[in-house]
């Protein structure tokens, strides 16, 4: 691979010092009293030699790499890849690139990715922190690297966050079912230490409690991330046949997918026999003969806010700790029809 052209190459060609070239190409020629003619010659030569600055060198000198690190649970998960996309767009627009890594909900992998990216001198991190990562995030925060937590948070770590109001959305989703007259409403949630998942769980429980119908924990199934498929299979069967629920709330995308499959598998008609509501949009909803109400997350807004906060922090337009709490809205059939 041929060596790229450097400031020095341009300087030699024009017959000036590299400093002048640097000033001109950074559009600081006016402040630094570079002659108009020389400036033009330099710009022309830069074009001719197809010059691109070496950002590593610049970063070494300026300590700003214009790169942000994005760590999510799994980039191939549609929620995170959509998030990644909006983060990419926003970052590019601000002249930043993004390096990414997946943690697989595993703190050790998370640490590995963090080290990997630190080594690349990223200017800051946008992080969806995995299970068991409290200490790691705390350490990260204490290292004073600009940091924004997205999607997940820790109640006792004061740091920038961009979150969705999971509790409220869950509460509303459950209420939707309650309002339709259901009393025996099941819920399937992740067995997880992650607070945002617990919020979803608590939103459901609170709605049930306020409705005063029954102790919600009775109809609550917690499933494990690893053995999702079999556990959801069991959960759906238990809820339907033992607990005789008439509706189920699925608290995540993946749970909804598997859960709906199971309802079909056990021979029940979705919505007619077992009413449902889900957290997160899902392509498959379009293929059910009925409309599944779902909690829609403002992914684009989340990504934009996260990048904005992070870059402001990096560039010292610092405004202290910022916590953005976005509203996730329940999309029902009625609501959609109103739009059309």
């Amino acid at each position: 691979m041929a060596r790229k052209t450097s400031l020095k190459d341009i300087a030699n060609k024009v017959g000036v010092s590299t400093s002048l070239v640097s000033y001109v190409l950074n559009n600081k020629d006016k402040e630094n009293r570079v002659g108009k003619e020389t400036a033009d010659k330099i710009r022309k030569a830069a074009k001719e030699l197809n010059y691109f600055p070496n950002l590593n060198a610049r970063s070494l000198k300026t300590n700003i790499s214009h790169t942000i690190g994005l760590i999510v649970a799994d980039i191939s998960n549609p929620f995170f890849s959509s998030l990644a996309r909006t983060i990419e767009d926003e970052a590019y627009a601000r002249n930043y690139t993004v390096i990414f890594g997946s943690s697989d909900e595993n703190n050790d992998k998370f640490i590995k990715v963090l080290d990997f990216l630190s080594t690349r001198q990223v200017d800051g991190f946008i992080v969806a922190s995995p299970e068991e990562s409290r200490e790691t995030v705390l350490g990260l925060k204490e290292s004073n690297v600009p940091l924004v937590l997205i999607d997940r948070y820790f109640s006792d770590i004061v740091v920038n966050t961009v979150m969705v109001d999971n509790f409220k959305a869950s509460f509303e989703a459950t209420n939707h079912l309650l309002n339709k007259g259901h009393k025996r409403i099941g819920a399937i949630v992740y067995e997880s230490t992650l607070l945002h998942y617990q919020d979803r769980c608590n939103g459901y429980l609170e709605a049930m409690k306020q409705a005063g119908i029954v102790d919600g924990t009775q109809f609550l199934a917690k499933v494990n991330h690893q053995s999702l498929q079999t556990e959801i299979q069991e959960a759906v069967q238990k809820l339907i046949f033992e607990d005789k629920v008439t509706a189920i709330y699925f608290s995540t995308n993946t749970i909804a997918t598997e859960g709906l499959k199971q309802i079909k598998n056990v021979g029940k008609k979705i919505q007619e026999e077992i009413d449902v509501v889900a957290f997160d949009e899902n392509l498959i909803f379009q293929f059910l003969d009925v409309h599944v109400p779902f909690v829609s997350q403002p992914i684009k807004k989340m990504g934009q806010e996260a990048v904005r906060i992070l870059i402001d922090q990096i560039e010292n337009k610092d405004q202290g700790i910022i916590n953005v709490l976005l509203k996730a809205t329940l999309e029902t059939k009625e609501k959609l029809q109103k739009v059309n």
Copy 2:
């Protein structure tokens, strides 16, 4: 953000020169005759000071950034995000990070992303080149940056590629329908200059031709990427009601999703009334009451091969131009049942 510890900090602490520290931490202490005790002291100090090398500085010196650039059409598209994931895993395992960008099937954006990543001194590119990007890819190739094209190719540009045999897979998919006795088989493909899409189209046409039943072009609907939804709507209606096809081949993931929706919308039963086959797996297949045969792409293998070829090239284990053609297999109901 507190300054990170550098080689110099360690050198000062131990009381030696930075060179020694560099040798030791790069495990070149033996070759460079560093005393055992000093080496131990250096390693200890590095631990204590929580040293991480500055890869920008190293890269500046060595001209190797251990970063690869990944450019796809859209990272939020499930095919590409899955690909990104396997590329990430493979790259990390080889001590490389990946920076990504989406081209949106647009050559100008593609060029912008390329420049952006070049500037970051990536060691090489894995690229799913967008529409109208022949000249750009040619230029990239001529710049001698290590490069692997993935998913898409140009017949007249000799460069590393990792492809799937689209023609053959399409041919087999169409034959599957022919073997079931269908004669009037429609196909919906992208109107595109991208050869891999054309290959899919040609695979269909060739199968139809060999079957000698009818001129396939008659049942071929080309749809535009931009106005997908409406065009597929029209295409499906035309194929079913005017051309009286009894089966349809969907040549991409997105086309299949929209196409299947339309079949339902016009009141036809999938498979019973209109038989189908699709290119690429799709979550929604699980939600149809019938099994949709589909062409399964070896995404993991694609990512692994691309990274392997690229890094070998970067590290000069150069083996000339490599073209990998992977087989995409038709997954039918019968086949799946054999596995279980």
